[in-house]
Symmetry: C2
Subunit: 317 residues, 2 copies
């Protein structure tokens, strides 16, 4: 059942022993909002703990704060559009007993008993900020930093079109509450390893342009990752790079996996639907960011992808 | 003479035939603020024109709007800390007859008859926004877009520590006034030419690390720019890159100018004052971003800069 803002606030006010669930492959928004809510509820004298299916990456450890030790309670999911995104273990244990979902994905599957979804909000941290304010919990520097992290990371540091005037106003208030915005942004956006820079150089050197510069193809092999001391987490920025070149409508990254198969990531600008393209090969995703898999050798995968892309571009023209 | 906000507004209200001067190697802040002020003054029925010593780079052409045709008038410099930054031709003609300087560099040399300097402001566009509001001019979508551009570019898209709550609140208001924030950010931060990517690869390949990785030195020669089909405007992103590497406290970029001299740009993290460092060599700027000039050969300039940097780091340790 969909509920409104004040009902969501009441549920948090009237319950105790909160089990806060966040999504797998956790990011700054789910963790920032989750740990901010955990801290705020504990400041109000309640008990709370946060669960994540995965190990929290080093990059996000600064958001972690201690929870309480208890077994059963009121279950809240944060930034989770579908129970499948809870990850296997958490999904198995909690999928059918989530009391409240707080989310900003308009595609939220309404799996919780009650769901508060703000589809227009740039981040779930914006929503949780307003909830914490309404709960009357003190917003200290730690909570402000957690919430700022989600506001910043889910908007590419205020860069994307999902930013609204409210996003900026909330960022202003969070800085006033002591959010360490400079630190967060250095950590999230500024810091690159020399290894990553080397990988980026190799990718640029081997980049191919097709169809009069409308399509950029980047290949990342296991050898390249190994030579640069990079891991899978470094590939996201390479994938983003594929779309950045002037005139490119589709950026396609072929990433060799450890088993020798290829993950293909497609990033597009407004002209092309990446999810529709990837569905040709059994993949999927969002309009601007989607992916698919290939078990065949690289050259064959490229041949297939480029042949279909040519048709895809012709259809749009 | 330093003046306050209301005096600056009065000067603009009480005069006419405005000649707006912007700095050489123009960026989003000087041009955004300059063209926003030009448009606002013209909306108030006044005549105004904007001068720049250089050809305005393609990247910033969307900020350009028509001015009026007249000879003499009230001269206003925007975002110009020193008359030398006006560029030779404009400096020769206007350096000793600037009526009003509007700036956000605390190092402003107070060369104008009257100077309104907000050293704490992240961009001069923030200052000009407040001035335009006080003048009572209508802020349309074009003016809002101009001002948003400076707010965004001078803060690395709200990423740097110069961002204050005011910066975010002004961004919120500018979006409400119709600033095309998504477009601006794609143009300023997302789009890269192949030439730029090639330049970046060359810079990464030739990058030097000093003092246990605390200092990163990048060199950009005219030949590198020429080989990659890049211009001066591409160097800003290279300069930003110098500070991004994990563990780097100061990024120093030596850029060869057309006349063979070197412009040195220094970018620092919280530990080091870039303006104080550059002042050793007669330069200036902000705490995290400053610059200076060298007429000597590259190796000699590097030797001097690194020798002083070593002392500078020792003082901080």
């Amino acid at each position: 059942m969909k509920i409104d803002f004040s009902r969501a606030v009441s549920l948090l006010k009237d319950n105790d022993n909160f089990i806060i669930l966040t999504h797998t492959n956790p990011d700054g928004d789910t963790l920032g909002a989750g740990f901010a809510l955990l801290s705020a509820l504990r400041k109000l004298g309640k008990r709370a703990k946060l669960l994540n299916n995965d190990i929290i990456p080093e990059k996000y450890r600064f958001l972690v704060s201690d929870g309480d030790d208890f077994e059963n309670g009121f279950v809240v999911s944060i930034d989770v559009a579908d129970t499948v995104l809870l990850g296997k273990e958490i999904q198995g244990k909690y999928a059918d007993r989530i009391d409240l979902a707080i989310d900003h994905h308009s595609t939220n599957r309404l799996f919780a008993k009650e769901s508060y979804v703000e589809g227009e909000s740039a981040s779930v941290c914006e929503v949780v900020y307003l909830i914490i304010k309404a709960l009357g919990a003190e917003i200290d520097s730690f909570i402000a930093t957690c919430l700022y992290t989600g506001c910043s990371t889910d908007t590419g540091c205020f860069r994307y079109t999902n930013v609204t005037p409210r996003t900026h106003r909330i960022a202003a208030e969070l800085i006033e509450h002591g959010a360490r915005h400079g630190d967060v942004n250095v950590r999230m956006f500024e810091t690159q390893t020399r290894g990553f820079l080397k990988l980026q150089s190799l990718c640029i050197a081997s980049l191919e342009m097709h169809f009069s510069g409308k399509v950029c193809v980047i290949t990342v092999t296991q050898k390249m990752l190994h030579d640069c001391g990079c891991g899978d987490e470094d590939c996201d920025a390479i994938v983003a790079l594929s779309r950045r070149i002037e005139g490119v409508q589709a950026g396609i990254t072929f990433k060799e996996k450890k088993d020798g198969s290829y993950k293909v990531s497609v990033r597009t600008h407004e002209e092309l639907d990446a999810a529709a393209f990837c569905s040709i090969f059994g993949g999927g995703g969002h309009e601007r960011a989607a992916g698919c898999q290939f078990e065949c050798p690289l050259e064959e995968a490229k041949r297939q992808v480029l042949a279909e892309m040519e048709k895809f571009l012709e259809k749009k023209a």
